[in-house]
């Protein structure tokens, strides 16, 4: 069932309008191409600015640089006291641990909600949905006090440990929806053969749920990679900065002096997200379409 709804979203649409005039169709395409270009223009301009010679950046509104020069990347990489290599590494560690935490902890909880029967299940499920509704600002300050007391500020722990406690309820919800679409006959048959819930979770549910696990993993990665607020609050030592904090420090320290380096590092920070967009676009779009995700 889940497969059916998913593919109906990505399949080409039924041609409701086969008798559109050729002229109308040309106009629609012209409009769409113009809109696409307008949407992408700032991004392409930044990419092109990052490889231009420094003195040419503001002189031109065109997209094609007169010569390609990677000096901005070198300048930007070493533009702060700590190199962007360090920031990138820090971001990567946090993002990968977050992905693992989200996938493991959320799938455990989702399996319990979707399949197991136990006292209070519906109550906890309602609580879980409730946590999706409240803005994080409400828990922000006491959480900060807690992590401060634990001595975790300036480490990645406040950003990563909550994910191993399934703090991203959204992903639980996403997985519950998917798990419910997997035929129960499969685990019932396994149960008759004497499989316990752990084996069913591990041998049946997870292997059949790779699409939703991948969707959750990719969104976890992108959102963590782009996260600014969490690192801003918990990471104060430049050696622990993520790439987003590095960029922010770059903006503040070099306001107008080194735009080339800033654009180069900005472009670099978008590369992983762009990579996921390029290769997993279908999965991302299905994820949004089926659950009505926010971003």
């Amino acid at each position: 069932m889940t497969d059916a709804t998913m593919s109906s979203i990505t399949a080409p649409p039924p041609s409701t309008n086969g008798r559109r005039s050729p002229l109308g169709s040309v106009l629609v395409h012209a409009g769409l191409i113009a809109a696409s270009f307008a949407m992408l223009y700032p991004l392409l301009w930044m990419l092109s600015a990052s490889v231009r010679p420094e003195d040419e950046i503001f002189a031109s509104t065109t997209l094609w640089p007169s010569s390609v020069d990677f000096a901005s990347y070198v300048r930007g990489w070493f533009g702060l006291d700590v190199s962007f290599g360090r920031f990138t590494w820090n971001s990567l560690v946090i993002a990968v641990l977050t992905v693992i935490g989200n996938v493991v902890a959320c799938s455990l909880a989702a399996y319990a909600f979707a399949r197991l029967r136990f006292a209070g299940r519906n109550f906890w499920f309602a609580m879980m949905l409730g946590t999706m509704m409240i803005p994080y600002h409400v828990t922000l300050i006491p959480q900060y006090v807690l992590f401060l007391d634990l001595g975790w500020v300036n480490t990645i722990l406040p950003l990563v440990v909550p994910k191993f406690l399934a703090s991203d309820a959204f992903f639980i919800f996403l997985m519950v929806q998917f798990f419910r679409g997997i035929p129960r006959e499969l685990d019932e048959a396994a149960m008759m053969d004497g499989c316990g819930p752990w084996r069913i979770y591990w041998k049946i549910m997870l292997p059949l749920s790779l699409p939703v696990l991948a969707t959750a993993a990719i969104f976890s990665f992108i959102w963590t990679w782009d996260d600014f607020f969490g690192p801003l609050i918990y990471l104060n030592d430049m050696n622990t900065y993520t790439i987003q904090l590095g960029l922010r420090t770059f903006v503040d320290s070099s306001s107008t002096s080194d735009w080339g380096g800033l654009f180069a590092m900005s472009t670099l920070s978008l590369v992983p997200v762009f990579f996921f967009f390029l290769f997993f676009q279908r999965l991302l779009i299905e994820g949004i379409a089926t659950t009505g995700m926010k971003r």
Partner: protein
């Protein structure tokens, strides 16, 4: 598949009136120990990171607390000050409402318009859809906020483009009348994800309804007005609620574009930015907690209002 769903519903609803074989299965499924084992990480998080902190935050909102000395009970003083004697609260609320009211309708209208255009069997749908979705995926990052800061600067790209038409533009980001608009444009630029949800919704509308309407001589405009729009209202409602809540919570672009100040003259002082300044700039943790609860109240009231009014305009087909 329907049978699977039925049994799922039945299991959720309890074991009443079920055939004996299914009753045995239900007994097999029942496993309190395993249930709580699987739920354990989430339960720890729920109590330790959500419920506990939420209660603590409510308590802190009635105290004066600077992280160094222990919280001191001040009764409702924080709330009273917020309501009566805090011009920055009023300013941030005004900016945030303005941002919500300007960005959400534009973003949704754009998303709906493009979705309808694409749904009409345009060739290359997947390519256009991908291009329009890309900004939604990238938009939350600092890099894009940095880019925006340059685009709308006095000597930025937008003004360079305008100069080619002989127009001399202001410094958009440092003018209090225009700065909020740069953030609105940034939000509208990310219309891709509501567009995808609209596209999925449009796909659910049966084509034979349009065929029947065509046979009856209904014009394209009338078909849109009488079929597409009413059947799409649940999706419009969903997108509106989600986007509004997101807009209330927006933080990063305003922080980067204003350099963390919310300036010029508080014109980009989003509510969340003010809350951040109070908590982590001035270390008024009690006051910031009160601000957080007021945000919850505002979002809650808005959501309740949306759901209450929804039955007058949202069409549920059942």
């Amino acid at each position: 598949m329907a049978a699977v769903q039925d049994s799922a519903v039945a299991i959720g609803a309890g074991a009443r009136g079920r055939p004996a074989a299914q009753g045995r299965l239900a007994a097999l499924w029942t496993n309190h120990g395993a249930g709580y084992m699987f739920l354990l990480p989430w339960l720890v998080g729920f109590f330790g990171l959500t419920l506990g902190p939420a209660v603590a935050s409510l308590y802190l909102s009635f105290t004066s607390f600077d992280l160094i000395r222990s919280p001191e009970w001040v009764g409702t003083a924080n709330y009273v000050r917020i309501a009566t004697a805090d011009p920055k609260f009023a300013a941030s609320l005004k900016v945030t409402f303005l941002y919500v009211v300007l960005s959400v309708p534009f973003k949704l209208a754009f998303a709906l318009f493009v979705a309808i255009l694409l749904d009409r069997g345009v060739k290359g749908l997947t390519v256009y859809r991908a291009i329009f979705y890309l900004p939604s995926l990238l938009g939350g990052s600092v890099a894009i906020a940095v880019l925006w800061r340059q685009l709308f600067a006095g000597d930025g790209l937008i003004n360079s483009l305008l100069a080619q038409f002989g127009i001399e533009g202001p410094s958009w980001i440092s003018h209090p009348d225009y700065s909020i608009w740069t953030l609105v444009v940034l939000s509208v630029w990310q219309f891709g994800s509501p567009m995808i949800i609209f596209l999925a919704g449009l796909r659910q509308i049966p084509t034979d309804m349009y065929e029947a309407a065509s046979l009856d001589g209904a014009s394209k405009f009338r078909q849109f007005y009488k079929i597409t729009l009413p059947l799409l209202t649940p999706v419009i409602f969903f997108n509106a609620v989600v986007q509004t809540i997101e807009a209330f919570k927006a933080f990063t672009p305003a922080f980067i574009i204003s350099g963390g100040t919310g300036g010029p003259i508080n014109s980009t002082l989003f509510y969340t930015l003010y809350l951040y300044q109070e908590a982590f700039g001035n270390f008024r943790m009690g006051y910031a907690s009160a601000l957080a609860w007021i945000l919850v109240l505002i979002i809650g009231l808005f959501t309740a209002f949306s759901f209450l009014t929804s039955r007058y305009w949202v069409h549920y087909d059942d």
